[in-house]
């Protein structure tokens, strides 16, 4: 029997994601890919994968999976309750699970999305060069859909290597804030000075209409200077569209490739992930940066992702249930360890 993970219970919306489908936007194919590429890369790094390998992105709460075959090395990058066969285990650490063991990933204690990865990755056929799931077009992942109970996730490795485990101190990752840096444009000339001022000076709130495609924001209306229709053009990641309502929509990984509302600004790459982690009701404010500053932000972020493997520490060959060892971890700067 080839090794696989059977989904016992799926989270509310868990999909397999990589870095997205590149090169097909001209055909109307959405990029998709991880909404938070940094945490996605962290989960992969913990099990020794490349940063762009397919991993599961879960939303608000994770999945329960049982190993059939194995052993399987698995790691969760998220602040969530984790148990193996009902016993608490730490996050941010690779775990080697044996045939029949069940990992349960509970609710996130903060943020919207977490990631789990398996050593060697999933044995899935890429669709147009990517295993990223895009549910609206039924593409990628597990038959284009979210994980569901009963799914058998095929694994590329039949047997995880017998080696020590690795862990990541999540406090080494940059803190996300509600200050989203943007570059104005490409259509800021479609807005009045008062509209741009409202956009940059007022608080906005993440609405309940937020998913992987886009995030609608509540807040002061942004005034258009000359209507709210443009001849449809391309939509980059993080573009802030302002439709007729005057309420901005930030477009995320699953965005449509073209659109006809003017874009007042684009959120700088790493801050798009920060927004994708915000829950409805959370407040944010936009801050304009110039191209040079946006370039520096990008460069620092790239160094961080490339440097993730160097941040990992050996977790030794500790036994899964050595609670003394587990309690010794500095988990999420003071956040609850979950089982005390």
């Amino acid at each position: 029997m080839t090794t696989h993970l059977r989904v016992v219970a799926a989270g509310p919306s868990s999909t397999i994601q990589d870095r997205g489908r590149v090169g097909y936007q001209r055909y109307g194919v959405s990029v998709a890919g991880a909404a938070d590429p940094l945490l996605h890369a962290a989960a992969n790094a913990l099990v020794g994968n490349r940063p762009g390998d397919g991993a599961v992105e879960f939303t608000l709460a994770g999945d329960s999976v049982v190993v059939e075959g194995g052993p399987v090395r698995i790691a969760v990058a998220a602040d969530a309750e984790l148990t193996v066969d009902g016993e608490p285990v730490p996050g941010w650490t690779s775990l080697r699970l044996n045939d029949g063991q069940t990992l349960r990933i509970g609710a996130l204690r903060g943020g919207m999305r977490g990631y789990w990865a398996v050593e060697g990755g999933f044995a899935l056929q890429p669709v147009l060069g990517s295993v990223a799931t895009h549910i609206r077009s039924r593409m990628g992942g597990m038959d284009g859909g979210a994980l569901k109970a009963g799914d058998r996730l095929p694994l590329a490795l039949d047997r995880a290597a017998d080696r020590g485990e690795r862990c990541l101190d999540p406090s080494l990752l940059p803190a996300r804030s509600g200050r989203l840096r943007v570059m104005l444009g490409p259509q800021q000339d479609y807005f009045t000075p008062a509209g741009i001022e409202a956009f940059l000076e007022e608080d906005y709130t993440v609405s309940h209409e937020a998913d992987r495609m886009g995030c609608r924001l509540d807040g002061p209306s942004i005034e258009h200077a000359r209507g709210f229709n443009i001849t449809s053009d391309g939509i980059p990641l993080g573009a802030v569209q302002v439709p007729g309502t005057g309420r901005p929509i930030v477009l995320l990984a699953d965005r449509q490739t073209t659109g006809g509302y003017p874009k007042i600004a684009c959120v700088v790459g790493p801050d798009v992930a920060a927004l994708a982690q915000m829950r409805p009701g959370e407040r944010l404010r936009f801050a304009a940066v110039d191209a040079a500053e946006a370039g520096r932000i990008q460069a620092r972020h790239r160094e961080l992702v490339d440097g993730l493997p160097a941040l990992l520490q050996s977790a030794g060959g500790f036994a899964l249930y050595d609670s003394g060892r587990l309690l010794g971890f500095n988990l999420i700067g003071g956040a609850v360890t979950g089982w005390d």
């Binding site: 055909y27 609206r136 570059m183 490409p186 391309g234 490739t257 700088v268 191209a291 370039g295 932000i297």
Partner: protein
């Protein structure tokens, strides 16, 4: 229409930290769109370092780049250089797809309503739709979804007030001044005129996308029985002919 008039100066717009938009003009016009796609080919041929992908649209190109490889400024200058000297001449032959459509009934639920609002009979709507010479302006929205220009003016109608949650794959639709063939089942507020057994997107095909910008489309009416027969043919492709641009322009003007 002159074939050598240069376009007004292209406009470069920043679109975040890793994309630029090259805008050649505004609105929906065949010569403008043809220039966009010629510039898109020039960009591909130039093989500039750092370009990840481009999205050509009605009147502009979104150029996405890897900021680790190139900065916006030198890339923008290179793009403007490529756009310089772009003329309205359209020299390349085009494909014209003859797309069979079963109009009306369960295949096109809005045909009668569209006819009523246009003050035409359904037969007249079908005849107009089948004599029009459509042009693919761009693909977008969903995989293989082609935005078609060339809908006869008498058929221009606002979209449905209440969009359908699901329209079947292969729907031949119209919305506003545009027409389209839907590649996959999806929600839409456009009016359903008919359905084609031709799939504009099929992952089992290489390449999976049937239509390309600049392609022409001519619809031809078929019976429900013929629809069922063609639908039953695995990997069915509609007929295709090559047309020269000058002929296409004349026919477009006549339609």
């Amino acid at each position: 229409m002159s074939v050598t008039t240069p376009f007004p100066a292209p406009v470069l717009r920043a679109a975040g930290d890793s994309a630029l938009i090259v805008e050649l003009g505004d609105g929906i016009a065949q010569d403008l769109n043809a220039a966009v796609h010629r510039l898109d080919r020039r960009i591909a041929d130039a093989d500039l370092p750092g370009i990840v992908e481009t999205v050509p649209t009605y009147r502009s190109i979104l150029v996405q780049f890897d900021p680790a490889v190139t900065a916006a400024e030198p890339l923008g200058q290179a793009l403007l250089d490529l756009a310089a000297g772009l003329t309205q001449s359209a020299a390349e032959p085009q494909l014209r797809w003859i797309v069979p459509v079963c109009f009306g009934g369960t295949h096109g639920e809005d045909l009668d309503e569209v006819a009523r609002r246009s003050g035409l009979t359904t037969e007249e709507v079908v005849r107009l739709h089948c004599t029009a010479d459509y042009r693919v302006y761009m693909l977008g929205f969903s995989p293989g979804f082609a935005y078609l220009g060339g809908l006869p003016e008498v058929l221009h109608q606002p979209r449905r007030e209440n969009p359908r949650m699901l329209t079947p794959a292969g729907s031949v639709m119209q919305g506003g001044a545009q027409a389209a063939i839907s590649p996959i089942a999806m929600p839409s507020g456009w009016h359903l005129l008919g359905r084609t057994p031709a799939r504009t997107f099929d992952l089992k095909r290489e390449p999976p996308f049937l239509l390309a910008p600049g392609d022409r489309i001519r619809f031809t009416a078929i019976s429900a029985a013929e629809y069922d027969r063609l639908e039953g043919i695995s990997g069915y492709l509609p007929e295709c002919e090559t047309v020269t641009p000058s002929v296409a322009l004349m026919q477009g003007a006549a339609a």
